[in-house]
């Protein structure tokens, strides 16, 4: 079964990082896109990525990472934006540093780009009308 998950990987040192992001593709045949990477040289860091592939391969890849002292967290949540209750005030854009929520400079309308979202949930608190919320995935996660 093909599936897609968003995961957060935390490294203690940078030397573990490079090889196995690469291995995700070569060894496990996963397609990945890095959504966010905060790597501090010599001190490790964290990376948020989308992984797509066979459910089994994703599991094996994450187990492989965990064995190598990488802390793995599946971000089994997604942000859902409800256009109907949005008043396009822009309050959420103040906290969305990843620019997943942006106001169009011409139409002044809010738009949400799921690809850029790292599920930090800052916008959920910042939205005064409850137009953004977190959805928990069911059954589609390992």
């Amino acid at each position: 079964m093909q599936k897609s998950v968003k995961v957060r990987l935390q490294f203690n040192t940078t030397d573990t990082e490079k090889p196995f992001v690469h291995l995700f593709a070569t060894k496990f045949g996963l397609v990945f896109s890095i959504l966010q990477a905060d790597i501090m040289p010599g001190r490790g860091g964290r990376m948020i990525m989308d992984l797509t592939g066979e459910a089994e391969d994703i599991e094996r890849a994450l187990a492989y990472a965990a064995e190598r002292n990488v802390r793995v967290k599946i971000l089994s949540k997604a942000i859902v934006w409800n256009d109907a209750s949005c008043v396009h005030c822009g309050a959420c854009t103040a906290v969305c540093l990843h620019k997943a929520l942006t106001l169009d400079p011409v139409t002044a309308e809010l738009s949400f780009n799921n690809e850029s979202c790292v599920v930090c949930e800052m916008c959920v608190k910042a939205c005064p009308t409850g137009a953004v919320r977190v959805d928990i995935y069911n059954g589609n996660e390992s």
């Binding site: 008043v87 005030c89 822009g90 103040a94 608190k125 910042a126 005064p128 409850g130």
Partner: protein
């Protein structure tokens, strides 16, 4: 050059030229102030922003036997009942006694306007003429008697931009302010904002008819904390601020398109109020103000990490054009900006108001009295 009654005559004949503030700015750029003042009769403005100082008077009508309500809650939100028997005032920022900041007076107001059932609970001490002591029932706006929104302070002329120089995240009424000035928020609709367009309030006074929450409303007084001021900058430009309006309007004619509850994280509840004001183009001077674009309208940036009467100024002058660009410069650093009031809604309101004026259903008014604008701002002296 023109009077309000002449303009109203043109409106009735269907001949008035009505533009929104954004449209008049464009026209003035192309044709100049003089020519635009000659051509245009009315300019409409709009704003849609959280305005805490809002609320509504409600009259429920009498049940049987009679009660003089002395304590009232609406969906568990306390309302002020220290007035006559079945009257109350529901304030926008009042919080639910059971749900806290999740639900407040503003939500009650929104739900009433949406036509929903609201749980009314009332207590009383019982009197000879009002013997009943308790009441608990569902109520709906359409079944009540007079219900009017009465907002003691709305339509702030101008508002400072907020940032946060401290090391921690601040949750304020200006939204979430990130540490080390990582963002800045601002709250007016700039060139569409009503009171920025007639900065000396030449045309606005008691009795001025406005668009309030989708209905017709009126200016009843200057708003609380109305302290008009003018800032002169060293480069010869200036800005206005500080004026506010007290507004009234029939809640039964309002729409949730223009009145919405706002939950402000770790601050409380507020009410998004949609307001539009039409301005008669009396002369060139007024038109010059009405046609002032975002790059000629300014505010300042305050540091909200200092919760004192005098907050430190982070930047004395920033234009709405710069704020709108999504980034301002603060101490040599680019800081992303975000609005808290909806430009999309402000535009919608200016456009709806324009259509109403054009169609003749919304006539302009001559104020019946001037607002008191020379008030001195007093702090609270505790003793």
């Amino acid at each position: 050059m023109k009077t309000v009654s002449e303009i109203n005559e043109k409106i009735k004949e269907g001949k008035a030229v009505v533009l929104t503030a954004e449209e008049v700015i464009e026209m003035a750029k192309t044709h100049g102030v003089r020519e635009t003042a000659r051509r245009v009769d009315v300019v409409t403005t709009g704003t849609f922003s959280p305005m805490c100082s809002s609320g509504a008077f409600l009259n429920f009508g009498h049940g049987e036997p009679l009660i003089r309500m002395s304590g009232v809650t609406l969906n568990d939100v306390p309302a002020y009942a220290g007035i006559a028997a079945v009257d109350c005032y529901i304030g926008a920022t009042e919080l639910s006694s059971t749900r806290g900041m999740e639900y407040g007076g503003a939500h009650v107001i929104e739900d009433l306007i949406a036509g929903k059932d609201i749980r009314l609970s009332a207590r009383s001490y019982g009197t000879d003429c009002y013997p009943r002591r308790e009441l608990d029932t569902a109520v709906r706006l359409e079944d009540m008697n007079q219900c009017f929104m009465f907002n003691p302070r709305n339509a702030y002329q101008n508002y400072s931009c907020a940032s946060n120089s401290s090391e921690r995240v601040l949750h304020t009424y200006m939204g979430t302010l990130l540490p080390r000035c990582a963002n800045a928020t601002y709250a007016t609709s700039g060139e569409l904002s009503p009171l920025l367009k007639d900065p000396e309030l030449r045309t606005i006074g008691i009795g001025t008819r406005v668009f309030l929450g989708g209905a017709e409303g009126y200016v009843v007084w200057e708003g609380t904390q109305c302290f008009p001021s003018r800032t002169e900058y060293s480069d010869g430009t200036s800005s206005f601020g500080g004026a506010t309006l007290a507004l009234i309007g029939d809640m039964k004619k309002m729409s949730t398109d223009y009145i919405r509850a706002a939950r402000i994280y770790k601050y409380g509840v507020s009410l998004f109020v949609g307001i539009g004001i039409p301005f008669p183009v009396l002369d060139e001077d007024l038109l010059a103000q009405l046609a002032r674009p975002n790059d000629e309208l300014y505010t300042e940036v305050y540091d909200y990490s200092v919760p004192l009467r005098k907050r430190p100024v982070l930047r004395e002058k920033v234009s709405y054009a710069e704020l709108r660009s999504g980034e301002i410069e603060l101490n040599g650093k680019k800081v992303p900006t975000a609005p808290l009031s909806s430009l999309k809604k402000a535009r919608e309101i200016a456009a709806v108001l324009k259509a109403r004026v054009q169609s003749g259903v919304f006539l302009l008014t001559e104020p019946s009295a001037r607002l008191q604008l020379d008030t001195v701002k007093k702090p609270l002296l505790e003793r």
